[in-house]
Structure formats: C-alpha cells, structure tokens
C-alpha cells in the first residue's frame, strides 16, 4: 500500500500537524478569556502611550481605534439611557451613540499627555449575572500617586467579549452618566439632549485643537 511510502507518511504527518495547529488555534480563540481580552487591550494602549515618536493627536487616534474594537459603545449607550431608551427613535439612538462616544473621546482623550509610566495589572475576574464577566485591574502609578482600582465589565457580543462598563474605585461610568441623563431627559427631549452633547463636543474639540494645533 502506498500509505506506507515515505511521501504519504510525510503527507499524513503534515496533515496531522496542520489539523493539530487548527485545533489549537480553535481552542485558543474559544478560550480567549475576558481577562486576556482586557490584558491585550491594556497592552496595546500602553504601547501607544509609551511611544515618544507619536504626536498627542496620533496617540488619541490610535487609542480611539483600540477602544472601538474593545468597547461595545452601542450596549454602553443603551445601558446609559436605560428606561429613557423608549423616548428615542432609532435615528435618535444612533445619533446619541455617535455623540456619546465622541464625548468620551474628547473628554478622556486629553489624558494621553498626562501619562506618567503607569502600568496595568490584572488582579482577578468574576462571573456576573447572565453570563457577564468582570475583570479586575489595578493601575499602578509608581511614585505618581495612589494606585487606582478599575473593574471592567464585559459581555459576549457575537462571540466576542466587549467592555460595557468601567468601574473606577467603585464608581460605574454607566451609572454616573445614567443618572445625569435621567435628570436631563426629565426636562428635555432626546433631540435637545443630543444637541447639547453635540455642542459640548464641539467646544471640547475647539479647546483640544487650541492646545495641540494640527500639523505640529
């Protein structure tokens, strides 16, 4: 039988290796645990922050791209609106999501310049209700101040773990913005609130551009 020939032995050996590799890759993808996802994102962000050859603007853009992959802004926006969600038309919801994401980027984007060699350690994770996961991390600030505890809440969306909330020292971003929008939406329409975020973003961007003029 030709199956005993060296060529076919090699072929079946190669197939075995290939299959084994595929299987390994498959299990690796399936086992991409939430804490690995957070570790990976944190590492990517730290690489950008540490890169002295990048301008603040370039850093901000790269971190935004990382955030877009790691954070589920659609779910985050819906959680922020909670029971006010029913007041929004699909178009308004899309506009809200866009402006809210922009708001987070404008307000937290400045911090790329205040990076002082902080490091991130993952300290644990925890199962939450209905399949959610919390990954706990500590931001080590060295001599620059007390360490900061951050919990990342993740949810599996289409097979991928995405961040849906940041809990800094026990303060949830979703809860905090929910409470602000709750107040605003008790007296304003969704359209007015979207316009308000838009205006604030435009002012924030103007300030950012004044500090870091384009082309420098």
């Amino acid at each position: 039988m030709p199956s005993t020939s060296p060529t076919s032995r090699f072929a079946s050996g190669a197939t075995a290796v290939l299959v084994a590799t595929l299987l390994a890759a498959g299990t690796a993808a399936a086992a991409e645990a939430p804490r690995d996802v957070v570790r990976q994102l944190a590492d990517e962000v730290l690489v950008v922050l540490k890169d002295k050859s990048l301008t603040s603007d370039a850093k901000r853009q790269r971190i935004e791209a990382i955030a877009d992959r790691g954070v589920d802004f659609a779910t985050l926006s819906r959680l922020v609106l909670a029971r006010n969600l029913s007041k929004f038309s699909p178009a308004e919801l899309a506009a809200f999501e866009k402006e809210f994401r922009r708001h987070l980027s404008v307000t937290y984007g400045d911090s790329v310049d205040s990076y002082k060699n902080e490091e991130v350690v993952i300290t644990g994770d925890r199962d939450e209700a209905r399949g959610d996961k919390t990954v706990r991390a500590k931001i080590l600030r060295g001599g620059a101040g007390e360490d900061i505890l951050v919990d990342y809440r993740l949810r599996q969306v289409n097979g991928e773990w995405k961040i849906i909330d940041f809990i800094v020292e026990g303060v949830s971003l979703v809860s905090n913005f929910r409470s602000q929008f709750q107040d605003l939406l008790s007296s304003k329409t969704p359209a007015q609130v979207i316009a308000l975020i838009h205006g604030k973003n435009a002012r924030g961007e103007a300030i950012v551009e004044k500090i870091t003029p384009k082309g420098t």
């Binding site: 959680l79 029971r83 205040s114 209700a129 809990i167 026990g170 303060v171 809860s175 409470s179």
Partner: protein, 244 residues
Amino acid sequence: MTMRTASLVIGLLATLCAGPAFAGEGEEDPWEGFNRAMFTFNDGVDRWVLEPVAKGYDVVVPDPLERCIANFFQNLRVPINSVNGFLQGKPLNGASDLGRFTVNTTLGLAGFLDPATYFGLERHDEDFGQTLGVWGVPHGPYLVIPLLGPSTVRDTGGIVVDSALTPTWYFLDTAVTIGSRVFDTINARSLVLEDVENARNAAFDFYTFVRNGYLQRRAALLRDEKDVTREVDDALYFPDEPVR
C-alpha cells in the same frame, strides 16, 4: 413575644438588611433645592478661591513634596482609620493600621514618607460614617455641607464623631488646627488639578455627576471589596428595555 416587640424586631432586621441603597436611579435627594444652592456656593469657592490658590501653590511646590505633605496629613488620620476598623469588627485591619501609623511616624519621618505600604501595611480607608453603615444605619438623604462638600446624613454624623476623635483638637490651638486643615486642603487640591478639570469637562450636570460619584464611592467603601452586588447588577446592566 408580643406583636409590638415582634414588629419592632422585624423593623430592626429590615433596617439591618437594607444595606447601602445603590446610587443610580432613585438616588435619595429630597433636599435637592438646598443641596444645589450649597453646591453652587462650594463650586464658586473652589473656582474663585481654592483652585487659583492651589494652582499658584502647585507652581511653587514640586509634586514629590506635595505628595510627602499629603502623606503627612494622611498619616495623622490613620489612628481614626484604626479605631473605626476595630469598631467595625475588623481587628486585623485596625491592628495593621496601628502598625502603619507606628512605622510611618518613626521610619517614615513623622509620616512624610510611606514605608509602611512597602512593608505591606496598606491603609484601610475606614471612617465613622462607614462604621455607622456597618452597624446598619441607613445613609439617609444626600446632603451638601457648606465648604465640606458632598455627604449624607449618616456621613455627617460620622464627620462629627471622627473630628472629636482627632487628637490635634485637644493638643493644639483651634487656630492652628484650622490653619493646618486649610493647608491640607490646598495641598490636596493641588494634587488633583487635572482630575477636577477633566471631571468638569466630562460632566453634563456637575451636581448630578458629583452626587452619583459620591454615593457610589461611599457604597463601595462600605462594601470594602469594591464589588457591585447582584441586585445592583440587574438594575444597572439589564434594564428592562421596552419592546419597540
């Protein structure tokens, strides 16, 4: 047991089990009108007096020195952390804080340095407001105190007891104590110039931002483990989304 004592016991148990109400929807703020007025006052004092002074101070005093000064004032509060650790039935934390105080006051040169953290004696942020919480006292309505800032009825009681426990009041002149308190505040403010500015920029309603942040943070401190409880999760992460 009569009906009356039975209902009394049940009522007491209910208070004990109630625990910290979560800051989110239905944040307790029945005095919002008064609170907002006080908040505007405090915010004005900060913008027009404290922040400019802290900015000037920050220019003159280098950051490492600011942190040493912050360490010194924080060290003075460690005995209070310790007492409250014991009162909350956490003798190990209370003892560890006593050790921390001893190490930092001696090796840490009167508390300006913090070798205790290096030795693993981390600070336990306990105060009498939290002690009352552990004993089952509900936090009650949110309250903004002039010059002191956000609080609750329970935490206000806590502040009164903690300052009675502060030894400096008995040893030093009142003016000196107040003066050192003002200095502590300016120094602490100079360390968070950027953070406060970021927060002001991030907030759509700074009053609500601070109220929610304060209540969430206090609830987290009371839990010690910075965990969010299961009931909270459900309201926060699975709001009943109406079918459209």
